[in-house]
């Protein structure tokens, strides 16, 4: 019991409010040599620079400029390679040519006999039922 009380007192004494001395020594002259070594760090490590405002925003400006160039060049390329919209004259010329082709085909069709048509249909693989239907509905 006495020993327990002695231990309690010892523990309370150890843990009383600080500060307390650390139970370590150091090699002689260690602290002054430590300071000398640490103070030489600026000689071996390049001096850190303070960046100006412009240097800090430069990366963001570069990205924005690169994006702008990409959009401009890309847009130009797309415009050059896109199919151009035909002019009104080109549309009219195309319509005239197509109309001429249709008229030519109609003239040719007027010269065709039923036998010509039948021969064409048979060679194209149409069935006999379809052929009969066409013959019944063909107007001469």
């Amino acid at each position: 019991m006495k020993e327990h009380n002695d231990i309690q007192r010892t523990v309370e004494d150890i843990l009383r409010d600080g500060p307390h001395k650390r139970p370590y020594g150091v090699p002689s002259d260690y602290m002054s040599s430590l300071s000398r070594r640490l103070e030489s760090i600026p000689q071996s490590v390049p001096a850190p620079r303070r960046f100006s405002i412009w240097e800090r925003i430069l990366p963001y400006v570069s990205v924005a400029a690169a994006f702008l160039v990409m959009v401009t060049v890309g847009g130009t390329i797309l415009r050059k390679t896109a199919v151009s919209t035909p002019s009104q004259d080109e549309i009219m010329e195309f319509a005239y040519i197509e109309r001429a082709n249709i008229l030519f085909m109609e003239e040719e069709a007027e010269d065709l006999s039923f036998e010509d048509i039948e021969e064409y249909l048979v060679s194209s693989g149409i069935s006999s039922e379809h052929l009969t239907y066409t013959a019944q509905n063909y107007e001469q």
Partner: protein, 180 residues
């Protein structure tokens, strides 16, 4: 020289002069802080080099929103925690030693230990604590640091720190009662 005067010197265009003053005022304090966290002499020496290189590289971005002292301790704490995590993984892979066994060997084998047996048992007790509890206990016990300063260093609330300290205190007390 006060922290404000050191920072003023840095802003006036003498970074090396300011850095030398920081080394002069804080290198020993940080050395003992790291030793109190359970690092050996050689590991502490190596880590201090890395810490002060980081301080030198980070000085341009230090805006003075926190005290210089809490900023330095925060860098030291982060580097120390990274170092301990790295070494815990490495030693567990190489020798399958448990954290408790490793803590015992460090307290017992430190060649620079110059305390008595009670202090050795206390060190073993501290080394069984998780990192945050160990940091809080060490800063209170050895440096009598204020909770507000610890909160800035460890980036946690004062309330959380007080709880951590209380838990750490009870653990250390129980360990001492069982092992003395």
């Amino acid at each position: 020289m006060t922290d404000q005067e050191i920072l003023a010197l840095y802003r006036e265009g003498d970074p090396q002069g300011a850095f030398s003053l920081i080394v002069g005022q804080y290198s020993e304090k940080l050395y003992w802080y790291l030793r109190g966290m359970g690092l050996g002499h050689e590991d502490t020496d190596d880590l201090l080099q890395e810490i002060f290189v980081k301080v030198w590289n980070s000085l341009p971005s230090f805006r003075g929103e926190s005290k210089l002292f809490t900023w330095l301790y925060r860098i030291a704490t982060n580097e120390m925690l990274n170092f301990r995590r790295y070494n815990t993984v490495r030693s567990s892979i190489s020798s399958a030693t448990s954290i408790g066994e490793e803590a015992n060997s460090r307290a017992d084998e430190d060649p620079y230990f110059d305390g008595d047996e009670v202090q050795r048992v206390l060190l073993r007790a501290i080394e069984t604590l998780p990192d945050r509890q160990r940091a809080v206990f060490t800063m209170r016990y050895y440096d009598d640091m204020k909770y507000e300063d610890m909160a800035q260093i460890l980036d946690v609330s004062v309330g959380s720190l007080k709880a951590s300290y209380h838990i750490a205190y009870e653990k250390v007390k129980r360990y001492l009662e069982e092992n003395l």
